[in-house]
């Protein structure tokens, strides 16, 4: 056994997984409350990545930041969360709310339209080139944990820790607060929630804000540890986040976290081992194959996902 490699893949998988989990949470929350697959969710993440990149450049760039690194990182994440939160609110208001009583295919098509609209707007503004956070200049690669076979760059730790913190925060919000109760009630039975005096529209707006803010944060985290960003990146992260949500059980918060980590690990380990296992016939570029085989497997064998209830309807 090559322990160095295994540990490294584990770290990669957990980093990737924590990002997927954040994306999956947004998917799940919106699906839970509107029974809508927000296909534009990955593109919201992409916008978040660009907002983070913009803030980074505005504050002097990675080589010569004008503020302390931790302040810079905090500002990047907060700006992306706020920007994407409002983007999510706008998407709900203009693309989904008018279609709330329409047949289910209509908002799905509208979501696709929003996705293209966002991608092309960013393409128009920033061009098709990849941009980089150049985070190795921001924080030296050598800084971090070095402990036997375990070598983890501090930025990866920051990414995992902040993803975890946000998930915990969301968990507390949903299970312990009045807004969380209203969100769960609305997701379960919208009319009954309205009969309790819950302003259902406001709850939906807040759900979009929170879900999209998490995607925005995920976008910055992606930029920090996986380097380059471009207008098309949202597609892949959206798809993986969706997979994670389905595998975990769409609509379930612990499910989204668990599914995210599972998909991240699956991806990392297939990147690391797919060549060995297939005797060199498939390269690491085929790692997505494994991820989507897992998705198909779940769809066939346990469509409600790991944490899901049986009655979840398929779209």
């Amino acid at each position: 056994m090559d322990w160095d490699k295994i540990v490294q893949l584990l770290v990669n998988g957990l980093t990737l997984g924590s990002v997927y989990a954040l994306v999956a949470l947004g998917f799940s929350m919106v699906y839970g409350i509107l029974k809508l697959l927000n296909l534009a969710h990955g593109d919201v993440l992409m916008v978040g990545a660009f907002i983070g990149w913009g803030v980074l450049g505005w504050l002097g760039g990675a080589q010569d930041p004008s503020v302390a690194v931790w302040i810079l990182l905090t500002l990047m994440v907060l700006a992306a969360m706020a920007g994407c939160g409002f983007l999510g609110v706008a998407i709900e208001r203009f693309a989904y709310r008018p279609l709330r009583r329409a047949p289910r295919i209509a908002p799905l098509i509208s979501a696709l339209g929003v996705s293209f609209f966002i991608q092309n707007s960013v393409l128009l503004l920033f061009g098709a080139n990849f941009r980089s956070y150049e985070s190795f200049d921001l924080v030296d690669v050598e800084v971090g944990i070095h402990w036997g076979p375990l070598n983890v760059w501090i930025l990866r730790i920051v990414v995992m820790a902040s993803a975890l913190a946000m998930m915990l925060g969301l968990w507390i919000l949903v299970t312990r607060t009045k807004l969380g109760r209203a969100m769960r009630a609305t997701a379960f039975d919208r009319e009954a929630a309205a009969m309790m005096g819950i302003d259902v529209d406001r709850v939906i707006v807040k759900t979009f804000f929170i879900g999209s803010a998490l995607a925005g944060a995920a976008g910055v985290l992606v930029g920090l540890v996986f380097g380059s960003i471009n207008h098309f990146m949202g597609f892949g992260y959206g798809l993986k986040g969706f997979t994670a949500a389905v595998v975990g059980g769409i609509g379930s918060i612990p499910g989204a976290m668990f599914g995210g980590i599972l998909i991240g690990l699956a991806e990392a380990f297939s990147v690391g081992y797919i060549e060995d296992v297939t005797f060199g016939r498939l390269g690491s570029a085929f790692s997505d194959l494994v991820v989507f085989l897992i998705l198909i497997g779940f769809m066939l064998l346990r469509p409600q996902g790991i944490f899901g209830k049986k009655d979840v309807k398929k779209v």
Binding site: F188, M195, G197
Partner: protein
């Protein structure tokens, strides 16, 4: 100026209400009153518009024309939340508990618009009426028996401290002994000064405890009057009470 005739001032008044679902005209020129502290029952066959009447009062469904007046204030354009703040609450048809949430959370949702500081007191009041509910507060509402669910649904509505409680077929699906029990509770709530508008299929029992009643047929009020008179009414007997 009109002369008061000693009748209680109307807490709720519907004036010429017309409610539609899309193109379908459901409620047609409905006039209805519930006085302060009064117990009024709303009778009618299936699909006659009883639930729609309650939803129109609560503001879940907006009327296309006509007025909903609560304690003298025209609330027709008000949100459900604003109406609840003015003293409404509902026990909906089929109870509509939030199944994946605990009994306690369901009760808390009933007090959604109440000040947080009163929560404990409101809970204690409800637990006093339904001691059994107190014992089940950690249980998921979806796993309760039908009778228990009915108690939680009533408790949840009472958490809002309503002046007027709307009840949509509270005895539906309950064993006879539980039907009796739920009417006992209705009487108890009524004697505490809460006005009630109760939708019932079980006309005999509901008229026996009500002050007044209305009968709906395809969205129109076809009969109204004192419960003691309605219960002897020939047509009503034939339509709803006779076997």
């Amino acid at each position: 100026m009109s002369v008061t005739n000693g009748a209680p001032a109307p807490l709720l008044r519907l004036e010429g209400v017309n409610t539609y679902y899309g193109q379908m005209h459901i409620l047609q020129d409905v006039d209805l009153e519930v006085g302060e502290g009064e117990l009024v029952c709303l009778l009618g066959g299936n699909a006659s518009g009883k639930s729609t009447t309650l939803k129109t009062i609560l503001g879940v469904v907006p009327p296309r024309s006509g007025k909903v007046v609560l304690a003298g204030e025209d609330v027709t354009r008000y949100s459900t939340a604003k109406r609840i703040e003015r003293g409404l609450a509902i026990v909906p048809e089929n109870r509509r508990l939030f199944g994946p949430m605990t009994v306690l959370e369901n009760l808390e949702l009933g007090a959604y618009l109440r000040p947080r500081a009163d929560l404990k007191e409101d809970l204690e009041r409800v637990y006093e009426i339904f001691p059994h509910v107190a014992a089940r507060r950690k249980q998921l509402a979806g796993t309760l028996s039908g009778g228990e669910q009915q108690m939680v649904a009533m408790g949840r509505a009472l958490m809002a401290r309503p002046k007027l409680l709307l009840m949509d077929e509270p005895s539906m699906g309950l064993a006879p002994i539980l039907v009796e029990r739920s009417f006992e509770i209705i009487k108890q709530v009524h004697s505490a000064g809460v006005a009630l508008l109760v939708v019932e299929q079980n006309a005999n029992v509901s008229l026996s405890i009500a002050d007044r009643g209305y009968v709906l047929s395809t969205g129109r009020v076809v009969l109204e009057g004192r419960a003691s008179e309605l219960i002897r009414h020939e047509e009503l007997r034939k339509a709803y009470l006779g076997r």
